[in-house]
């Protein structure tokens, strides 16, 4: 150990170094929380909830972004299966600042890039009535499932060939 002098002086030096160590550790944790993880962008569960029903959500998962015009306005909170209607019920939490989403808004499930994650894209309608906490978005379009698209493409090609 380094030479710390004597008595109180030594104890005090150790306390100062330990204080600096703990401060550095907390700064590192803070850096990880704010800069590396999504804490700064996560939202704290505030905002209002909207639901939407989809025939197929693809691989949409909780915490996926909800965007309008490409800007994130909320997050998917929950994806459930409704056993009565055989549909997927997606619950989204929208930022409280975005409080003017028309009630005839269209909800799509898009894919970011060819292999990217799936997200919910909202397209504003023209209504004067705005959606509130707990409302359901009526107009939805399911996720595009690549296998289905390829299947449909092949099927239509085969039909063309048959004529």
């Amino acid at each position: 150990m380094a030479n710390w002098g004597h008595g109180m002086n030594k104890q005090r030096s150790i306390e100062i170094v330990v204080g600096a160590f703990m401060a550095a550790g907390l700064v590192a944790l803070f850096f990880l929380a704010m800069r590396v993880s999504n804490l700064s962008a996560a939202g704290d569960g505030s905002g209002y909830a909207l639901t939407a029903r989809f025939a197929n959500v693809g691989s949409l998962k909780a915490r996926a972004p909800v965007t309008m015009a490409g800007v994130r306005v909320g997050r998917v909170e929950d994806v459930r299966f409704d056993k009565a209607t055989y549909e997927a019920v997606v619950t989204m939490r929208i930022d409280p600042a975005v409080d003017s989403i028309p009630d005839d808004t269209f909800a799509n499930i898009f894919t970011a890039g060819l292999l990217g994650e799936q997200y919910v894209g909202l397209e504003a309608g023209g209504s004067e009535e705005y959606l509130k906490e707990g409302d359901e978005i009526q107009h939805t379009q399911s996720a595009l499932v690549l296998e289905q698209m390829i299947g449909q493409f092949l099927f239509s090609k085969a039909e063309e060939g048959g004529k």
Partner: protein
């Protein structure tokens, strides 16, 4: 002959179980004596210094190099898929979830754990522990408890430093040397890493590793044969057992945390 072999096997089993039992009794006594830490915070500060501050250099330097290597390796793999922008996610996720807690625990086991074992073992060999007992001072409370708590406090802070420095190292290599886009590096990292899922779980891991590494080191020292050979064997055992315990527990914790 057969009976001899059987009795040897039995003795090994009984010894292993007995030492496991002594280890648990010891940790129970250490935790039960935790009030000592509140009453004499100076003891705790000194141990945070011993375990934490003295390990900062090795942890920070290792973290920097591990992050830089992750940056290099990750870039070569990801560029094959044209996904260089995900480098930040890869570096940060590997560090925060796994390498930060695990490598820090291994480094602390080597840097501080072995020193603790040797210290306690020598205290026992030179009858300082019995001396304390003669003066009606409980050596477990006075000597071991502050060391355990010091390690538990220091470990997550060290792991956070390791990960933070590692991310900066990965950034340095990825963005600085290999030309990954600066904005994409950070924004993808932030959108993919979750505070609760990744960061909190990483901190929980390093808390568990802190308890286990320091516990094993203290137990091996306390349980050492009070000779120079005994202390040296105990030191080796402390490092080997902590490394195995950390890696084994890491698997269990990962399966529990990220299993679904």
């Amino acid at each position: 002959m057969v009976l001899d072999a059987l009795s040897r096997l039995g003795r090994v089993g009984i010894d292993a179980l007995a030492s496991l039992g002594r280890a648990h009794l010891l940790v129970a006594r250490m935790v039960a004596g935790s009030s000592e830490v509140v009453r004499r915070p100076g003891l705790l500060v000194a141990q945070v210094y011993n375990v934490g501050v003295l390990s900062v250099l090795i942890v920070v330097v290792s973290g920097l190099f591990v992050g830089m290597v992750l940056g290099l390796q990750g870039y070569y793999v990801l560029s094959q898929f044209g996904a260089e922008e995900s480098l930040g996610v890869m570096v940060a996720a590997s560090l925060v979830r796994e390498l930060g807690p695990v490598v820090t625990a291994l480094l602390v086991a080597g840097r501080a754990g072995s020193a603790l074992t040797a210290e306690i073992g020598l205290m026992k060999a030179t009858e300082q522990l019995s001396g304390l007992e003669m003066m009606a001072v409980d050596p477990v409370r006075r000597i071991l408890t502050p060391r355990l708590w010091g390690g538990v406090i220091a470990m997550p802070l060290l792991a956070a430093m390791f990960s933070a420095v590692g991310v900066v190292g990965g950034y340095f290599v990825g963005v600085g040397l290999l030309g990954v886009d600066d904005g994409a590096f950070w924004s993808q990292m932030q959108s993919k890493l979750d505070f609760d899922e990744d960061l909190v779980n990483g901190v929980i891991k390093s808390l568990v590793f802190g308890v286990v590494v320091i516990w094993i080191a203290l137990f091996q020292g306390h349980d050492a044969t009070p000779t120079s050979e005994g202390v040296s064997r105990a030191t080796t055992r402390a490092v080997v057992h902590s490394a195995l315990a950390v890696l084994g527990l890491d698997f269990v914790l990962t399966a529990l945390m990220f299993g679904d």
